[in-house]
């Protein structure tokens, strides 16, 4: 009885829900897509002015698109006073945009890989097959790295990790396995580390060293420079 509660039940209709279709459809517009991409890449709050400048459009056009993205649930808006002035005459708070929590997906024909992944992860976890899983992940990473160009950052970006520099480390903003990692952290995070290690090995030349460096709200893996003992 209790195991049934965890199974992901989404995406069973023949046609994805209207809300998800609408959100994805919104991103067809290239300006809107660029604005969304900029906000997401920034990794935090972005003002309308910053987004407009980054993408190269008028502020009012940027505001129009950004608010449409908020309406569709792809972005979240908040208000904050930028700068130090307070009290009357300090000016209006700026409207800031960030990526919304939650996920949007649509698959045709309907696919629920997450359901299968949860069941497979549960079985692997029960069977204690961590090392086999890590070995498979490493092999897959090596194959992926070999097929890719030499730039680690590009490779990780292409795989959805959203890398960003932090001192002498490359950190990963997004966990591609989110729910699965939440349910099976040791299994999935050690799999992920092996996968990224494999990717780096696949690239070949000393590309960097993958280390486990988790913190709440980001992917568990970071890349340090190969010689860095830090």
């Amino acid at each position: 009885m209790s195991s049934g509660r965890r199974i992901y039940n989404g995406g069973m209709d023949r046609v994805p829900p209207e809300r998800d279709l609408a959100a994805i459809g919104l991103l067809q517009d290239p300006v809107r897509r660029a604005l969304y991409g900029h906000v997401v890449a920034a990794g935090g709050d972005v003002s309308r002015n910053q987004a407009a400048e980054a993408v190269g459009v008028q502020r009012s056009l940027a505001a129009f698109h950004l608010d449409k993205l908020v309406e569709a649930g792809l972005l979240e808006a908040s208000f904050r006073r930028l700068g130090d002035r307070r009290g009357p005459g300090a000016g209006r708070p700026a409207k800031l945009y960030r990526r919304a929590a939650g996920e949007v997906e649509a698959s045709l024909p309907p696919r629920t890989y997450e359901t299968a992944a949860q069941l497979l992860a549960e079985a692997v976890d029960q069977a204690g097959a961590d090392l086999e899983l890590q070995a498979a992940a490493r092999r897959a990473g090596q194959a992926g790295g070999r097929d890719a160009g030499p730039a680690i950052e590009q490779l990780l970006e292409a795989r959805g990790y959203e890398p960003y520099p932090d001192g002498n480390r490359l950190r990963l903003r997004n966990c591609p396995f989110a729910h699965l990692a939440h349910e099976f952290p040791v299994l999935v995070c050690s799999m992920n580390l092996a996968l990224v290690e494999g990717l780096l090995e696949g690239i070949g030349k000393p590309a960097g060293r993958a280390v486990m460096d988790p913190a709440p709200g980001r992917c568990c893996v970071a890349i340090t420079s190969k010689d860095n003992q830090d």
Binding site: M1, S2, R5, R6, Q126, A127, G128, D130, L131, E183, P185, V186, C189, S190, L193, V211, M212, P214, A215, P216, C220
Partner: protein, 154 residues
């Protein structure tokens, strides 16, 4: 306002080789730093230890091979952050090299009145409860947590 309840956790493990063997060297080396990390983590309240500073010499079960780890935290979130979002996670990666696979539940969580420390006997009972009945308000898991009882602790 201080919470009325704290979260207790117990986990058991059976090592694959003696603690002084090369195979377990990584585990033994990690004990002190990871225990120190726990002690300084937000929300940490207490952990079971002997004078050596850890719980590895305690054998509370009929099966002499079974080791125990018992601790108390201010919240599920603070425990979760320590276990899965700190350097502790990197150590857990090696669990299959160090510990036997357990077919029965090896980790149980439950709520205790804030300021009380659970006994090893109570921890044993909670694990048995979880094994017998599955997750419930009196013994649960990270995957199927239950909220602290409402109102003041009795």
């Amino acid at each position: 306002m201080a919470p009325a309840h704290h979260l207790a956790q117990v986990n058991v493990a059976i090592v694959r080789a003696p603690l002084d063997s090369p195979q377990l060297a990584g585990f033994v080396a990690a004990l002190e730093p990871i225990n120190a990390l726990a002690d300084h983590s937000p929300g940490f309240v207490w952990r079971l230890q002997t004078e050596d500073g850890d719980a590895t010499s305690i054998r509370p079960f009929e099966d002499e091979r079974v080791m125990v780890n018992l601790s108390v935290w201010e919240s599920l979130e603070s425990l979760r952050a320590f276990v899965y979002a700190s350097r502790h996670l990197d150590v857990m990666r090696h669990r299959r090299e160090w510990f036997h696979r357990m077919t029965d539940p090896y980790l149980a969580l439950w709520w205790v009145p804030a300021g009380t420390i659970p006994t090893v006997a109570e921890a044993r009972e909670r694990l048995k409860l979880l094994t017998r009945d599955g997750p419930g308000p009196d013994a649960f898991t990270f995957r199927e947590p239950f909220p602290a009882p409402a109102g003041a602790a009795r």
